[in-house]
Symmetry: C2
Subunit: 305 residues, 2 copies
């Protein structure tokens, strides 16, 4: 069963790990958001893509919520000593990957080719595919002016209220050919439990035309009106969307035919059905690696059913 | 008194630290060898230049003999994990400087401008000037084939006997304008106790025409037939030069009017004089920072005398 997951860095990335356990080698593709990528000292930092790579490779720093385990920040200390801005926690181990990726791209590889090469070198049997080879950058309009995504998310800790989002470069960008191929070949496309506005919208803006709604299932990243992680609820509210699982279902109604609600939101099933989506009630909280695999198997069962 | 030092990474770099103590701010320029620079993952690693920067800034890793104090190698571990060759000890703290330099150059600075900017940011009041903005690369002919300098020096630990050296790019390279200006303005030019063939020859090949022999003093890097550090003696022997302080004096006879011998080589004074150079006998072993400053003051006295 070929499966493609659309993923930001946390919820969907964890589900991808579960799917990697539940599927045969080569069956899973993960299409990652690149709109929160940022160029730093000539290196392209790709937080969502790398969170997926590191999680699949067993290297992810779950304590920090980003980057690599047992990380140090000595290069950043030198940069600070040299007067550079160091608000972004660029770790030393992480830098090794960025250096290789920059080097592969300088040798002529596209971003997707470079990430595929890194995936191979990490021994992954999952295809990790950045959504586009063209730069797309989330710009966050706030009362304090427009910020890059990382400036807002890391630098300002998501504090300045958001008045709008735009994805710079999106209109000129093409979806990565490998991403289009993966969703076309997929028996099931899973919109993972990531932030719909920040992580998923940029991906679906590019590959939406290639999705067949009947084969798409979305998973709510909001449970009982709260997100397990990240600014999803506040952001949806600030941008005028209902910050609940139902609001997320409404957001995806044109893209997905199935919608997974957490058991805590069971009472929203009828409202989801009225959007023309099949509601599926599951325990969407993933406890450890077992929880990731359990939810993955339950979602695969929905896809087969 | 304006002084310019021609420097490799160890002896001359230490003498430069002594001169920085003994001179007034702004009086000292250090012109560094760039022929052992090497591009790694898109970063230009400049071992001699950076040894001078780190030593002057008090950051040098004297235990390791290169790089920055309290260093870690986590980025390199990731690169190794990703299948890259990791024979060169590129440290995490050191990487911060390389990232900034690459970034400054990408913004349009020449190498000399980027190094000057880094020197300013480190708070140095010494001008550290790479010998050229153009790439010059030492290529080492050995029985095992031709190697880059770092491949031979670090990768092969200087073990393969050397049949010849060539400096790729030298014929097309121009001396850095700031280096020419520094030696022209100098009341005294010191050829520091570095390897004549590897560290000093590339510099003098470029700025030699701008040196006034009467104002140049060279310091022997060999004491009693031995170098304090590095492959000077073996290399001179392999390339047919007499591996003694006298051999070094002969090497510099056309460039320098004064030659500093260690007290252990006092008996070579007459032979040095017969080369047309003024021999000066000093204790050239620098014990700690005090020793660096002592030798610096003694050399300055010769320059004034």
């Amino acid at each position: 069963m070929r499966v493609a997951v659309l993923a930001g860095g946390t919820g969907a990335a964890r589900l991808a790990c579960g799917l990697a356990q539940a599927l045969a080698p080569g069956e899973l593709s993960v299409i990652t958001n690149t709109a929160d990528d940022e160029e730093m000292w000539g290196l392209l930092v790709c937080p969502d893509t790398d969170a997926v790579l590191y999680r699949l490779a067993g290297l992810f720093n779950a304590d920090a919520g980003f980057g690599v385990r047992d990380e140090s920040f000595h290069a950043l200390e030198t940069l600070g000593l040299l007067g550079e801005p160091v608000w972004f926690g660029l770790g030393d181990r992480d830098l090794g990957l960025h250096l290789l990726r920059a080097s592969l791209r300088r040798r002529g590889m596209t971003l997707t080719e470079a990430v595929a090469e890194i995936g191979r070198r990490l021994g992954l049997n999952v295809a990790v595919i950045p959504m586009s080879d063209d730069p797309v950058r989330t710009r966050v309009a706030t009362e304090a002016g427009e910020l890059s995504f990382q400036e807002w998310f890391v630098g300002e800790r998501c504090e300045p209220p958001v008045r709008g989002l735009r994805f710079e470069g999106l209109e000129a960008a093409l979806p990565a050919p490998a991403a289009v191929q993966a969703v076309r070949a997929a028996d099931l496309v899973v919109i993972g439990p990531s932030n719909p506005l920040l992580s998923v919208d940029p991906i679906t803006a590019l590959i939406g035309p290639h999705l067949e709604r009947e084969r798409v299932i979305a998973i709510a990243p909001i449970i009982g009106g709260r997100a397990l992680k990240g600014p999803t609820v506040a952001l949806m509210a600030q941008l005028g969307e209902e910050p609940t699982a139902l609001g997320v279902a409404r957001h995806y109604a044109g893209l997905a035919s199935g919608f997974v609600l957490d058991a805590a939101d069971r009472e929203l099933s009828d409202a989801v059905a009225r959007l023309g989506m099949s509601p599926h009630v599951l325990d969407t909280v993933m406890a450890g690696a077992e929880g990731e695999e359990r939810l993955a198997r339950e979602v695969l069962a929905l896809g087969r059913g």
